[in-house]
Subunit: 304 residues, 4 copies
Amino acid sequence: MIDFQHILNTIVEEISSEPDKGIVATYIPELAKVDCTKFGISLLDNNAKLYSSGEANEMFSIQSISKVLSLSMAFRILGNDLWNRVGVEPSGDPFNHLSLLEMENGIPRNPLINAGAIVIADILVTQLKNPKQEFLEYIRKIANDNSINYDESVAKSEKETGFRNYAAAYLIKSFGNLKNDVEEVLDFYFHQCSLRMSCEQLVTIFYIFSNRGECLQNHRYLDLNQVKRINAIMLTSGFYDEAGEFAFEVGLPGKSGVGGGIVALLPNKFCVATWSPGLNKKGNSKLGMLALEKLTTTTALSIF
Amino acid sequence: MIDFQHILNTIVEEISSEPDKGIVATYIPELAKVDCTKFGISLLDNNAKLYSSGEANEMFSIQSISKVLSLSMAFRILGNDLWNRVGVEPSGDPFNHLSLLEMENGIPRNPLINAGAIVIADILVTQLKNPKQEFLEYIRKIANDNSINYDESVAKSEKETGFRNYAAAYLIKSFGNLKNDVEEVLDFYFHQCSLRMSCEQLVTIFYIFSNRGECLQNHRYLDLNQVKRINAIMLTSGFYDEAGEFAFEVGLPGKSGVGGGIVALLPNKFCVATWSPGLNKKGNSKLGMLALEKLTTTTALSIF
Amino acid sequence: MIDFQHILNTIVEEISSEPDKGIVATYIPELAKVDCTKFGISLLDNNAKLYSSGEANEMFSIQSISKVLSLSMAFRILGNDLWNRVGVEPSGDPFNHLSLLEMENGIPRNPLINAGAIVIADILVTQLKNPKQEFLEYIRKIANDNSINYDESVAKSEKETGFRNYAAAYLIKSFGNLKNDVEEVLDFYFHQCSLRMSCEQLVTIFYIFSNRGECLQNHRYLDLNQVKRINAIMLTSGFYDEAGEFAFEVGLPGKSGVGGGIVALLPNKFCVATWSPGLNKKGNSKLGMLALEKLTTTTALSIF
Amino acid sequence: MIDFQHILNTIVEEISSEPDKGIVATYIPELAKVDCTKFGISLLDNNAKLYSSGEANEMFSIQSISKVLSLSMAFRILGNDLWNRVGVEPSGDPFNHLSLLEMENGIPRNPLINAGAIVIADILVTQLKNPKQEFLEYIRKIANDNSINYDESVAKSEKETGFRNYAAAYLIKSFGNLKNDVEEVLDFYFHQCSLRMSCEQLVTIFYIFSNRGECLQNHRYLDLNQVKRINAIMLTSGFYDEAGEFAFEVGLPGKSGVGGGIVALLPNKFCVATWSPGLNKKGNSKLGMLALEKLTTTTALSIF
């Protein structure tokens, strides 16, 4: 049997001596303040056993990782009708390019690029009475943890500087694929991205994707087909234009955020989250990628 | 235990009553002659047990499926130096677009799009003394079957009409990423694509990718890391701009060809091949996709 | 000597029997209400003689024609520093594509595409105390006509539906090439485009471009080099992706608007304006293009 | 009256002290050998008076300037049917990009970009019995000069290194817009580009474009409409992605070549040619652009 605790401890130790820890994202001013030497990792196996090492309880801004969660909520509500509004193919482009959107008439390539997540946000704004509140409750319920919350200062910081997201939203709206007011949709979107969590909280939530749709309290959130689709999308599109690289180096479906978090999972086996705010050139956590590669190499566990 | 023989038989039966069998590719004149009602399927599990149903012994042109095989041979020879010449990211574009190639200075996005496979062909032409002969011997040896051969009339047909492949090759050469004469490289490439095999032969060969690099004769062709990378590339890039769709619907790494073949695999479990020459709009075998979806849905076996 | 009055009358007569009068633009709802059988033409020669025929005094929304006027005002103020903010090359793309903007880091190709005109609007918002008022006064003074005004209902209509302009503005802002608030810049831009004029008023104003920078009251607005540059930009970029076609068919620098107006000029000879709200597929007035072609063919006057 | 001889002499003198003479093109090896301090200029006015200064009789490779000549020959033969094969709009892209070609189904934007000139070459190969010989005779006849010839070593040099032109030709062929064998078409194209002439010979030939279609021997080659269209295309598309800049700085229709030649003309007034092999970043002769700007500024003669 695999001794996950020992493996995580070893990874944390090895990581601490890594000279190049990447560079903290500066385009969201509020995120630029974080200390890039920090590193935490948590793993929750499918026997519901939690292993942690390093700063696994420190809260950070989950940013784009939240796109998987909003997707799961919209998918529950709309079912496969969702795919009329957003595609399922990798974008083959950095995360913020509008060109494809223009060529493809306002249908974003997939729900994990910004444009796609904005369409998902629009769907939730349409479907929910109090979108921000209900989305937060959805997350809290999966986590069984009412302390999880938005970070208003990060949401405000993004709102004041997120011009490219405004550009994407208006472009989608010009094609008729955004039904609500842009300000309202982006207010939801920026809040969603500002969610603060620790690695331990993240694995507790993403457990539903490694556990066939059920959370630790055995409540079912997604059916098997929905989990399969979301995992497939994470694998092909979860890491901006480094998805192929991650698929090889790590070999797990996952999602990263510019706040330095990464979450990944092996279906029916475990869910893992890392946090380290220094990013590589493609916008993914440098030490997080390294740690996950060590994990799957050491354990020889991957989907491939 | 899963009764694969029964499942394959059921699939063949269900498939036979499918009204829409897709459309045979016409852009390679020699391929346009095939009867689109044909269907075959073979599965080789990791106990080396072979199951077949339908026309699993009929030979067809494997076309783009051969890209995985040439990649594996080049990867054996060059190791990771290979990735200086070709990327590992999904292209996010139909299989024949040159625009990306131009923007990215002649480095194809991945080895499974035409441009990437042409670079791989160039590598083999450089590395091998008698490229066509040695590549054929490599395939025959993995398959333990000396009857496998090129189809000269198909190779000739492609040579006379494959203008877009010439365009890609010359564009790559203009960036210095093609070292040999274009005619020589494409002669190899068109031959490689013209390989004729049956579903049974295909699974015997692709068994190395589901069996951690070893063939049925227990000869090792690739190490674990190489197999993992090739499987990852198949998953993210094996189905043109339908890779995301295939990842969800089927949930296996695989590769299709315009000749109507598809091969897919579940690491450590099985390798499967289908053949039906009618294609869907994205250029993948219509009945083959359907059959594989039935297979993974029925068995609940997939990587996700 | 050329009898312009006779020529204009003949053109109006011929135009009236033209079966295909194009289609009125509908994307700005307020513009969709106009009657597409209307046609007017005015010509002001460099002896200050005015000739008109048809509905040359009917007011219409000048829309993109205003881009030349805002450009002239910004050029007066900033001089050649202007060209650090916007290019002078034809865009080679339809008038509303954002892709180029993205590839070229937020520097629009030229000041006559929407993105470029928005940057010009931003410059005027920075440079002027009361931008809308001062721009209107600038136009009124050139025209020597205080009746010229904005059409608030058209400006409002564009504001409510001009999502693509919002997308362009935010994209430019994300690259740092828009200094003011997007709402404020677009409020100016939508007002500028809503200016209402007749053909007679238009030629009175554009006379400065055929008369080496001086208006009918002999006041100098631009120096010779500035006029030359603006005329050159009108020729290469004044007709969206039909600039080349217009250069050949008509052979004059000019600018069209989706309101159905076109203004064109032969340096040192005359300035001409047409109005007919039906547009061709490229967004230029169908009858206006035809009328101007007749004019330059009949008179054998063009820059080529 | 303008003293052209004095003006040309002054320009040559001023040019000689210019410190930055640009950089000689190296991508055609045979062209890289030329001395970049050389400069020549010739002007032929519409009274058939020839003025020259500097090295106006030195022969150089006219390269892309030849595209206007092959266009004129094809236009004579096919008339307006020509425009079914090639467009008339500026490309908005550097001279060698294939992306547009791909998006627009193999119809090049205009006949002065490489792709367009290759289609023109294909037309001539179809229409002429001995294309290279007949094209040469056409040029010699316009020039009334049988000494004009191809430079076989330059043609050969381009053939061996012009991979991007091969890529363009094959891409066009894949769309069915190239009727002959690629090798044959490019053999013609590379020869056409290798034509060697002096500035004096160039103005003698391009005189037909400033003289309404007639050469110095009063033979008519093109009708007025054809001349107008070709001049319009030169203005909008004659200088790669510097067409707008040239239209402003110089204000004349014209065409440049990587051999360092530029030819330009003012309809009904004069035709002018310069030669200096050092190029600016956009691929146009640095001193040539400067000289022509001086010419039109000093004389205040331009189309604008």
